[in-house]
Amino acid sequence: MTRVRQLRWIRYSVLFALVSLVAGIGVSLIYRNPKRGLPYRAQFSEGQVRDWQQFGGTWTVAGDTIRNDSDERGAKLVTGSPFWANYKAEADVQLLGRGDAGIAIRVSDVEDGVDSYSGYYAGLRIDDQSLVLGRAGYGWLEFPPAGMPGGVSPNRWYHLAISAYGCSINASATVLGTGERASITAFDPNCARTGKIALRDVVSGGIWRHVEVHALNHADGEQASLAKPTPASLYPTRQGLLPNYGLQFRVLSISSRPPTDVVAIDSLRLLAASRPVHVTVRGTVTLITPRTYIQDATGGAEVIFAEQTPLKLGDEIEVTGDAHREDLSVRIENATKRSIALVAPVPAFSITPLQAAMGRYDAMFVELEGRVDSQHRTDSSVMELHLTGGQQEFFAVSSKPETEAAFTKLEVGSSVRMHGICVLNSAYTKDRVPFALIVRSPDDLEVLSGPPWWSAEHLSLMAAGMLVLGFLIHVMYSHAEERRRTTFLKERERLAHEMHDTLAQSFAGLDFKLRAIRNCTLRDLENIDRNKLRTELQEACEMVRHSHDEARRSLTSLRPEILEERGLSEALSQVGRRMIAGSSMDIKTDTLGQLRRLPAHVVDALFRIGQEAIANAVQHSHAKHVRIALDYQRAQLVMTVEDDGKGFRPDCESEGFGLTGMRRRAEAIHAKLEIHSNGVGTKILVTAPCKPDTRWPAFLSYIKEA
């Protein structure tokens, strides 16, 4: 590249960079413009809520309103530009229940959660009937609220507005219809400067409509700058009197405790909180061995009978005894029973491991799913499975030898569904897992799926296999490279030998001849033997021509590209056609048998032998026809070059035709060279061994041939 072009290229590059920079700054300024997209009016009537991002809640569009029906604390719906700075957001808001609902501005860093965002929130709150304004920043700091004239009640429309200019924040609410109004003005010295808007509620749910955002102008700012810093209030301890709730709370019809001494099992934890209590409970037997458990609709408990008591699963019994609480488990000791009925065994509660971990289902018959992590025997020789389900881990223990056998058959990593008694007792959990499951029988165990294929063992094996494969490929590649290099070296060596044997010798002879001619001409010119000089010159010319022939032959003996691309037969044919170009000689090529790939050094040797043979036929035989034949037999290749020329006597004198080189090459590939010549032509046969084609079995060879 010339210097001028380089300079031009640099100039264009700099220009392009400058244009890109300017364009980037322009786009950035447009994107970061604090008034971009303002004024904004939400188009809920057209169902356009795609620009809004939901953080909790159940948000639906109804007519020209958007509605959140959930009672979640802190559900948010966010939209707008994160670079909006000084603006006013307003909307009509309706609360659906107890709690508060409103609008947040300058919202950023939003997550699911109550106050898990940064920004300012103004809302109407039913609990203290007030307009509330505060700042959230993964926590909540509230400015003094303002009581709402006329109160705050559900299912009533309020117009709510919140604005921010600099660090002055204003909020106001007006009762639609009556015009009653409340407002709060606050100044936050270290305020949040920019952010989006959000619709937000806490517990109440709500409906919003006519959501609009307007940029504030300089006049609004001057008015806002009059605001004084507002000390953070310690709401509501500094709030003064508790507001009048004004709500009508329901008083339900209340049923008194049933006039019986039988208590629900779930009340035993409360009754036996401080000391054992004598109780009577009713329940269904869910497990007999190794321990006895009963359960009613509310909970379960372990029962230890005062004396041996025959029981069956599904027995409905009334148990009287002393209830003891041990952590979260209840055990009824010194129990006596009264049979009530025999019913079918209770079905299992289908629960998640998290529900089981929370203790509500202690001593109850449940159904759980989990993945087997390991299996081992405890100190007391009980087979135990360690399982993972969701975010929890738990043990499964067998209650019978048959169940142990089923446990043993499980593969680690299998997903299983199990029925059993959920227990929190530390005798089973060992304080390592939140609960354990006592599995009653093999029928309570169902394998949902086996372990995944991608186990650590399989992945290790695969990695090892890949390594071995990679190593083998590397070895093969290295081997091929080595052979290629060796071939190059041999070819160089051959050329060196050939040039030494032919060209170098010829040049030496030529030098000798030319010296003789020079010495001859240096003598007396009158006495020059002109005949001798002519003879010497003729011989020198012959030597030059011979050297030229040798050089040409050496060059043509270099491996042609066609040999690589189209094979030996076509390469020999092309060489022959080139040699006879312009003459009346005819060359014919035949290929017999199934072509197959031969080693490169074998092909090279055969090509050169064939080339030499063709050259001899063309140059010396005066033949009219030359035939080249390749016969691919099962374990050998026979190459034939024959002509119908005058022939020669294959004796020592003929070796000058290159027969020595042909023999040497044939020996190098362990081939057999035969020369047949009788006055009517010459036939050169080369029989080279080659491996049979093993891709087809011998007994199927007829199929291949077909």
């Binding site: 802190g74 109550v114 409360l270 401080s274 998290l354 390592r432």
Partner: protein, 347 residues
């Protein structure tokens, strides 16, 4: 040179032989993969480094004001010891799943420490074990788990027995040692709640035989449900003289039910867990008293322990509660328990 150039690639492609070309491409791709893995490793190291300075503080919920004092304590300790806290919790006190998710996230983000006020002592066992296995130092505040204190795990909890005793003594005092009392807001799945109940019942039975505990009701998750439960108690036991509520939801429900029935003067409410709303009700003499938990100290000490190293702290600390009545509700001592201003230091 690690990075393969275009010329390198082109040079490879020009070389003859399928095997050779394949090997060249393989080598180039291997270098690209190596560079990608190195970049990922560097990015991961940078992100780990950034998150290691945070202490995740996870309260039972961010929806009630009682835990804002813990927020204040944690925030102030963080400022003092030059660490940063990440305050977030479930939106509901019974949302255990969400709290487990927050714990797991703190582990994933490799936080410098974790302060957890567990919603449910058993369901949080496994997530905390995961945190400990990942080397995240953890302080459990509020109520203990079933896991014993160990390396990287310590407790700063309420003195549950003292809460029960304090409540029983107050009930004995305001009923003049006789009458009926009902207990509401008991969490049957919480050892802490059962411990408070056990202590309360023991003191009532041993010191005030003239007082009978006529009802014991489990906790509810909302003020409205709690109000319904207390209404049921009032119908079942119209002569009840006092109600002992073991949580703020139960206390607020009792207060609302008594207000509706006009019984705030005759039936006294003794509650556990402070809130600003209940403090106002005490000022109005509509709730007799609340036993406040020192959540500010819990937050402060937990962050302090994590910032300075847990080995310098006892593995189990029990914080004494404070009885707040109309006599001391505006005192400096009570203000310490009642404030929810997480931006300023406590007196």
């Amino acid at each position: 040179m690690i990075l393969p150039s275009f010329h390198h690639f082109a040079g490879c492609a020009q070389k003859t032989g399928f095997l050779r070309a394949s090997m060249c491409i393989t080598v180039v791709l291997a270098k690209l993969v190596l560079v990608f893995v190195l970049a990922l490793t560097v990015a991961a190291l940078i992100s780990c480094q950034a998150s290691r300075s945070d202490i995740a503080v996870i309260p039972r919920t961010t929806a009630t004001t009682i835990w804002e004092a813990e927020h204040a304590g944690a925030e102030f300790a963080a400022r003092r010891f030059g660490v940063r806290i990440r305050w977030n919790g479930p939106t509901r006190e019974d949302d255990v799943h969400s709290q487990i998710g927050l714990v797991d996230r703190a582990v994933t983000q490799k936080c410098k420490g974790l302060v957890l006020t567990p919603n449910q002592p058993r369901a949080l066992m496994v997530p905390i074990q995961r945190a400990l296995a990942a080397g995240v130092p953890t302080v459990i505040v509020g109520s203990a788990l079933s896991l014993p204190p160990q390396k990287n795990l310590s407790y700063i909890v309420n003195d549950d027995e003292m809460i029960g005793q304090m409540a029983a003594m107050r009930v004995g005092q305001i009923t003049r040692w006789k009458g009926e009392v009902a207990v509401v807001g008991i969490d049957p799945q919480s050892l802490s709640s059962l411990s408070v109940l056990s202590s309360f019942v023991s003191v009532i039975e041993t010191r005030f035989p003239g007082i009978s505990i006529v009802d014991r009701r489990p906790a509810t998750s909302s003020d409205l449900d709690s109000e319904i439960v207390v209404n049921q108690v009032l119908v079942s036991h119209p002569q009840v003289n006092a109600i002992f509520a073991l949580d703020s939801t139960g206390t607020l429900g009792a207060y609302l039910a008594l207000r509706t029935r006009g019984l705030t003067t005759r039936v006294k409410v003794v509650g556990v867990q402070q809130s600003a709303e209940l403090a106002n009700a005490i000022r109005l003499h509509e709730v007799d008293s609340i036993i406040a938990e020192d959540t500010y100290q819990m937050g402060y000490r937990a962050v302090e322990a994590l910032a300075l190293g847990q080995t310098k702290y006892p593995s189990m600390v029990k914080l004494a509660p404070l009885l707040i009545t109309s006599d001391n509700v505006d005192s400096a001592a009570a203000r310490t328990f009642l404030t929810n201003d997480w931006r300023s230091e406590h007196p």
